[in-house]
């Protein structure tokens, strides 16, 4: 018994020490400081980094937009509309030069004044360092010239119609040049500094990031005392946190939980169309069954896209036949929200293609879209295709994708952080499609290459629309639906989702304040 007692005492001491040493989190503080206005958001993954040039993650950017500010800011509803940020005005002075007038009197969180030198440092760092993840999105910037303390010229290598889109996203948050050079990347990671309405307070990895209000903010007074971004990967846990009121907004509500959020009495559900489009990559390599355009058309006609959206995604999508959605230049309304499901016609086309008894093909999908892939396979089977379904773990899927080793079909989602057509269309240019879909159409190549450097928006829209019309016929990809992203929100909060999925804390209000 004495031994047992000893063991118990040792354990008890151990747990007390461990609990005492834990460093804790804000639990007690949150309870103790009830007067504080705190906004808590539940994300699925942690902040990747504070080196804004070294990631491509939307949830991380949704935190960063409160700390760092862009020269130009996207409108919440219409991402192509650009609003003044740290730049008060801008103009294109020639095909390669954009001039920005900067806001005066802005201070970084550490007290340093914001000047043209900071813009030069920020943009040239990401445009020149090839080891940075976001380098390729900025490599068209040749140099940034400081004209005076509050004027800069951004010089591009080629005419760049989407420069403003580049400057209103992930890597364009302006960094404090002097501070960054003094403390280095490591020092900056420990104590990131921007010009935004909220200052970094603490980061407990895989748990939470806390921001506090910047009382010296150059714009309107920040709305919240503290903004907390929690990392809650498991959806049941995230929704439970929302239902118990521990978080105000939960991202990504799975279809099975949407009704729970709607019915709880203390929360509501909102969704919004994203720029992400789900499609089937279709190989046109000579020798494959999908080389035949009739087979490709039969595949598209065999799938009831609307039913997939309603039954598998809980309604969170819009059926489409185009690569880009509304709000993006080049969007084709006649290809959006269409219903062309016709299983009988699909069977007929297959017979005309020489496969009256059906034909075998392989459909690959990442595990994350397993349910969608299974439903697609069921529809294809109904139209007499014999489908080999290949569900791959995420890293394995990416590897197959990069090595161009998918067979006839692969289910893929493509996002678009710039809300501009090139990101989703240039994969169809012959050189880029080689090995992947092996699609080649001279007219499409010409249209897309011309549009990439065309500074006339009207002409550019026509070029993209024409290319999209051809792609809808040629089907190097069969576009399925534009994803909607969704949120569960506490009733005390007034929240309207933005198309770019950002959480600008000051656009989120307490209902009682209104």
């Amino acid at each position: 018994m004495k031994q047992l007692r000893h063991i118990s005492i040792v354990w008890f001491a151990f747990i007390l020490i461990a609990t005492g040493c834990s460093g804790g989190t804000s639990g007690s503080k949150e309870e103790g400081a009830q007067q504080e206005k705190v906004l808590t958001i539940g994300n699925t993954i942690d902040n990747v980094t504070f080196d804004i040039h070294n990631h491509g993650n939307t949830q991380t950017e949704s935190i960063h937009v409160n700390i760092f500010e862009y020269l130009v800011k996207k409108d919440g509803d219409d991402p192509r509309k650009k609003l003044p940020g740290l730049a008060v005005s801008w103009e294109r002075t020639d095909d390669l030069t954009w001039r920005f007038k900067l806001k005066e009197g802005v201070k970084f969180h550490n007290g340093d004044p914001f000047t043209a030198a900071d813009v030069k440092f920020t943009l040239e760092r990401v445009a020149k360092d090839k080891s940075l993840v976001d380098y390729s999105s900025y490599s068209n910037i040749d140099q940034v010239n400081v004209i005076d303390e509050f004027t800069v010229d951004v010089i591009t290598k080629e005419p760049d119609p989407i420069l403003l889109a580049r400057l209103s996203r992930i890597s364009s948050g302006i960094l404090p040049a002097a501070y960054f050079e003094k403390v280095g990347v490591k020092g900056f990671m420990d104590d990131p500094v921007g010009t935004g309405p909220y200052k970094f307070s603490k980061w407990i990895k895989d748990d939470r990031i806390e921001l506090v209000k910047n009382t010296d903010y150059h714009g309107e007074k920040p709305n919240w005392d503290r903004v907390v971004f929690r990392t809650i990967p498991e959806s049941t846990t995230r929704i439970s946190e929302l239902l118990t009121g521990s978080i105000d907004i939960a991202v990504i509500i799975p279809p099975g939980d949407i009704q729970r959020v709607k019915d709880s009495g203390s929360t509501y559900y909102v969704d919004k169309e994203s720029a992400r489009v789900q499609s089937l990559l279709v190989r046109q390599t000579p020798g494959t069954v999908t080389e035949n355009p009739k087979v490709r058309e039969a595949i598209e006609l065999a799938i009831d896209k609307k039913a997939v959206i309603d039954n598998v995604l809980g309604g969170a999508g819009v059926p489409t036949q185009e690569a880009i959605g509304p709000g993006i230049l080049g969007h084709s309304p006649e290809l959006f929200n269409t219903d062309i499901y016709n299983v009988e016609r699909a069977k007929q086309l297959l017979a005309e293609a020489g496969y009256p008894d059906g034909v075998e093909l392989t459909l690959s999908s990442p595990a994350s879209t397993k349910e969608v892939a299974e439903t697609l396979a069921a529809y294809l089977t109904e139209a007499s295709f014999k489908v080999n379904l290949e569900i791959l773990e995420q890293t394995q899927y990416k590897q197959r994708d990069n090595s161009n080793t998918f067979k006839e079909l692969a289910l893929q989602g493509k996002g678009n952080s710039m809300f501009e057509a090139p990101l989703q269309l240039e994969i169809f240019i012959t050189e880029n499609a080689a090995g992947q879909t092996d699609y080649s159409n001279k007219e499409v190549d010409e249209l897309l290459k011309a549009a990439a450097t065309n500074l006339n928006d009207e002409e550019r829209a026509e070029q993209y629309e024409r290319a999209q019309a051809i792609l809808a016929q040629d089907r190097p990809r069969i576009f399925l639906y534009q994803n909607k992203f969704n949120y569960g929100v506490n009733n005390r909060i007034d929240f309207t989702p933005r198309t770019d999925e950002m959480f600008y804390a000051d656009d989120i209000k307490l209902k009682e304040d209104e």
Binding site: Q3, A18, T19, D206, T395, N432
Partner: protein, 306 residues
């Protein structure tokens, strides 16, 4: 004893070397970190540029050589995901995992030792059968399911505890019960069978025939010997727990080693995976050593010198 400890410590070097080699190969053959880092609109050229910039285009043996030479200087390299040195990131997760491991073990011991003893003493009674049944059930229930059920009932319905995250004592209750009951299920059966074996031995009969009270026979004479296998399993489970309970830490958003490893594997964050496995391997060896020493404390007849 001294020689035994010395010899065990010496074994650490080749063991860790082999582990780093295996992990290095596994991480490299299962996927490309660059593919996981870049957005899905990245082109083949973007991937190539970043691959070169990170030195991932060099032959595997060159990469391993560089990794090993850095390792000898205590440098596991930088995490691709966080862009920081890997070892401090791993080490800063240890307190959270220790805290959860200790609390779970406490829950397990508090359940398993009394119920195991009681079950053995009342062998074949209704109580014994009930405990055996519950143990089987406890072992059969997957921990993620138990965790989610506890969240839905205790945190959401009753509102007695927070749902997830790490904070004060209240945050520890649900994950510790989830993990602790799973271990207790196995441990109870072990305590019971170990106790049954001991109480059938001659010296226990002698103690009883001397007229000692049953309480003293069990607690003073039987328990100490019955605890040896329990210490073994406690040690083994502890290494599992500190190494990170992958599923339970994810369910409860517990920022420990488990969540870190899951994220690192998903993003092919080589340096974090290496540093985590290295730290866990080191802990397993040290905890095993501590367990051996604990045997000796419980049973002085056990000798390691030969």
């Amino acid at each position: 004893m001294g020689i035994y400890i010395y010899r065990t410590l010496l074994q650490i070097v080749p063991v860790l070397f082999i582990i780093t080699l295996i992990v290095f190969i596994l991480v490299h053959v299962t996927g490309d970190p660059v593919a996981m880092m870049l957005p899905d609109t990245a082109s083949a050229e973007d991937r190539e540029i970043l691959t070169q910039a990170l030195g991932l285009d060099r032959p595997l043996y060159v990469q391993y050589y560089i990794f090993l030479s850095n390792l000898l200087q205590g440098d596991f390299g930088n995490s691709f995901r966080y862009g920081e040195a890997a070892l401090p990131i791993v080490l800063e997760r240890l307190p959270a995992s220790f805290e959860l491991a200790a609390a779970s073990m406490l829950v397990a011991c508090c359940i398993a030792i009394p119920f195991g003893i009681w079950s053995a003493v009342k062998r074949n009674s209704v109580f014994d059968l009930f405990i055996s049944g519950v143990s089987v059930l406890g072992k059969a229930m997957p921990s993620f399911w138990v965790g989610i059920m506890l969240i839905l009932i205790v945190a959401v319905q009753m509102g007695w505890t927070p749902v997830s995250g790490r904070g004060g004592f209240s945050y520890l209750i649900l994950p510790a019960i989830t993990l602790g009951t799973g271990i207790a299920a196995e441990m109870t059966r072990l305590v019971r069978s170990s106790m049954l074996e001991i109480i059938g031995q001659d010296y226990i009969r002698t103690a009883r025939s001397k007229g000692l009270r049953e309480m003293i026979v069990i607690n003073k004479h039987a328990l100490r010997n019955a605890l040896i296998p329990v210490v073994t399993i406690t040690g083994l489970q502890l290494t599992n727990l500190v190494g990170g309970s992958l599923v339970v830490e994810t369910v409860f958003s517990w920022p420990g080693m488990g969540q870190l490893i899951v994220q690192a594997i998903n993003s092919h964050d080589m340096a974090i995976v290496q540093a985590s496995v290295f730290v866990i391997a080191l802990m397993v060896i040290l905890i095993n050593l501590a367990t051996d020493i604990a045997y000796r404390a419980l049973d002085p007849r056990i000798k390691y010198n030969r």
